[in-house]
């Protein structure tokens, strides 16, 4: 595992975007060779998308031969609802770059057969040749995508009923009315993300500090689902200083000492 500590959230966004750009360019995608990205939503990755749009506009990267798979989507809210992840991706990323809409995949929370939708999603990922780089964020309780505490660490894409705590946390996005918060979501499983070639998890803010501690300084535990990535061969955890508040000084010092090595990961001519 690599733990990359940046000064602040903006630097995290910039580094993440540079890494994505670097990986896509290094892969040298083409009509018969698509780079496959797994994508998150939420506040943490927003800055990364903005940098990526900037790089696209400057002509640095293209998403023409990139396929994307989003992590999750609510069940039963209209696609154009401002809180839907379809809306988020369209507004914050897809319509600002040159990705082919046929290659941008998001789980359909309004599918008639939700189970079939999930099975089909796994199949699509498989057909795309697997995910090269899965990017994720986490919740303060250490959940990745909608894999809430107690989720199987071998889980695949499926329907999840959301915990009361999550509904309460999300009520602010739905007129502070918990009744309006979708009770279920479709989400990729921890196992789905584990299958990706590289996993990059963005963690910013002191409210996520305890989750980061649980993720990397204690054992693998399904109550902190992000801890599963301790067993992934290629995980990058990218955080800001605030998120390190609960870590041991030793942990922080060790990884900070590797700063020069980490910078190489986003240099144009280096191997990833």
């Amino acid at each position: 595992m690599r733990l990359i500590i940046m000064d602040n959230a903006d630097k995290v966004s910039e580094w993440a975007a540079k890494y994505v750009a670097k990986r896509i360019k290094h892969f040298n995608p083409g009509p018969d060779r698509y780079f496959v990205l797994g994508l998150p939503t939420g506040g943490t990755p927003l800055g990364m998308y903005q940098y990526l749009i900037q790089y696209y506009r400057a002509g640095d990267i293209s998403f023409k031969y990139v396929k994307t798979f989003n992590m999750d989507e609510y069940v039963g809210i209209p696609r154009d609802h401002v809180e839907s992840y379809h809306y988020y991706m369209m507004t914050n990323f897809f319509t600002h770059v040159d990705i082919d809409p046929n290659n941008a995949h998001i789980l359909d929370g309004n599918a008639v057969d939700l189970h079939a939708e999930c099975m089909n999603y796994e199949r699509l990922i498989e057909e795309a040749g697997g995910v090269h780089l899965f990017i994720g964020g986490i919740g303060p309780d250490g959940h990745i995508a909608f894999n809430e505490p107690g989720s199987s660490l071998a889980s695949k894409t499926r329907v999840k009923t959301l915990a009361r705590e999550t509904l309460e946390a999300n009520a602010r996005f739905f007129d502070n009315d918990i009744e309006k918060v979708p009770k279920r979501a479709l989400t990729v499983g921890v196992g789905t993300v584990m299958n990706a070639e590289t996993v990059m998890i963005l963690i910013t803010g002191s409210h996520k500090a305890f989750a980061l501690h649980k993720a990397i300084e204690e054992g693998v535990n399904h109550m902190w689902t992000v801890s599963a990535f301790q067993q992934h061969p290629k995980t990058i955890i990218l955080c800001d200083e605030d998120a390190t508040l609960e870590l041991k000084v030793k942990t922080v010092k060790y990884f900070k000492a590797l700063g020069a090595v980490h910078e190489k990961l986003i240099e144009d001519n280096s191997d990833s």
Partner: protein, 401 residues
């Protein structure tokens, strides 16, 4: 689905707010990118970098007597195309050519020439004629010739106008005998009744609104002054009667016809009903110098029109975009509020807000690119650029098919 154009790097006025949003246009209409992306699975064929411009809906002028030397009332109805084309540089994409009180024979001759037409590269849309008179008060005739003013008792609508087909707005005085029936008849036929050139008190004005009037012609001008015991027609803007349709009022913000304090009062009292109109004369858009307009000789000096060789102002020559900028200066209102007085509100008066006056999905792609000083950089109709200012159009095409 045909050509998809994306306008990016712009701020747009939508739902009363100025937001950094892209605008997507398909086949001359503003469309929802969500549907284009997820359902139609299309990417833009053309991408336009708007260089940070403010995109607003195209401006709409509900009262304009002529421009560029053309007078709608006195030039046999000719020259409409000159005005259509010329108004584009002021950001105007739709207008109601306005005819002042004239003779029946003149109405019969000229009204058939003011057919509604869509906007295109030839010019702004003609949204129907505004007949200001002749059923107005002899006490408040303003610049209208007294000899042309009529009562509803000795003439009827059809004898006077010929046909109502091309008429979109009728300005009349509600105190005339028989006016309530006429107001009902016109509004039931989809014609906007505007109250103006009137000595009407508040009570009669309220009755007129209850019978279907929805607009007031150039507030403060050619009506009774505000009186605190009978506020007259002006009083309506403070307490419009509760009826289905909201009440709007036109106001001339040219810095001459309405004092800034009066603009401020109108804006504070009823910002949602306020519509800027130019009430412009044919001299608008003419260079400085002596011009012949009808029988009159007029002189344009420093963008103001005077009766030649005098200091007597002879009507407004201020363009709608200039009125909008002046309105902000005079009232301190927000840019968004000011823009709505020349876009959404006039569209609502005409009941065409589904297609004009907004940048909502489904609306016609008529818009204006404004620069940092709210200067018109370019004007677009149905997604086509129809005017570019020579100092910069405010955009560059980034990608074409």
């Amino acid at each position: 689905m045909n050509i998809v154009t994306k306008y990016f790097n712009c701020n747009i006025l939508k739902d009363g707010q100025i937001l950094a949003h892209d605008l997507w246009v398909v086949d001359g209409r503003i469309e929802n990118p969500e549907i284009i992306f997820y359902d139609n699975k299309k990417i833009p064929d053309i991408e336009i970098d708007c260089l940070g411009s403010l995109i607003t809906p195209g401006f709409i002028d509900l009262q304009i007597n002529g421009a560029f030397g053309v007078d709608f009332t006195y030039h046999n109805g000719d020259g409409l195309d000159i005005v259509r084309k010329g108004l584009l540089k002021y950001g105007v994409t739709g207008f109601c050519p306005t005819i002042v009180s004239t003779t029946s024979s003149n109405y019969h001759e000229i009204l058939p020439k003011f057919k509604r037409c869509r906007g295109d590269e030839q010019g702004a849309a003609v949204l129907g004629a505004h007949v200001e008179g002749p059923f107005i008060s002899g006490l408040k005739h303003g610049a209208h010739s007294l000899s042309n003013i009529k009562t509803l008792e000795n003439s009827n609508l059809i004898d006077t106008y010929g046909s109502l087909d091309n008429i979109q707005i009728v300005t009349l005085a509600p105190e005339l005998n028989g006016s309530m029936e006429v107001i009902k008849l016109l509004s039931n036929n989809g014609i906007v009744v505007s109250l103006g050139h009137t000595s009407s008190n508040m009570e009669t004005s309220i009755q007129a609104v209850k019978n279907g009037a929805t607009f007031i012609t150039h507030l403060f001008n050619a009506m009774l002054s505000f009186h605190h015991r009978d506020p007259g027609l002006i009083g309506l803007i403070a307490c419009p009667p509760t009826v289905e349709k909201p009440l709007f009022f036109g106001i001339i913000a040219d810095g001459t016809h309405t004092h800034p304090a009066a603009l401020k009062i109108a804006h504070k009292v009823n910002p949602e009903g306020l519509v800027l109109v130019t009430d412009a004369l044919s001299a608008i858009g003419l260079p400085d110098g002596i011009h012949h307009l009808g029988d009159e000789q007029i002189e344009v000096k420093n963008s103001k029109a005077y009766i030649a060789n005098t200091n007597t102002l002879c009507g407004s020559v201020t363009s709608l975009d200039e009125c909008m900028r002046y309105f902000i200066e005079a009232t301190n209102c927000s840019v968004a509020e000011a823009i709505e007085t020349v876009t959404l509100h006039p569209a609502q008066v005409l009941g065409i807000q589904q297609f004009k006056g907004t940048l909502n999905y489904g609306a016609d792609a008529d818009f204006v690119f404004l620069g940092p000083k709210l200067n018109v950089q370019s004007t677009w109709i149905n997604g086509q650029c129809v005017f570019e200012h020579n100092s910069g159009a405010g955009y560059i095409v980034k990608k074409t098919t």
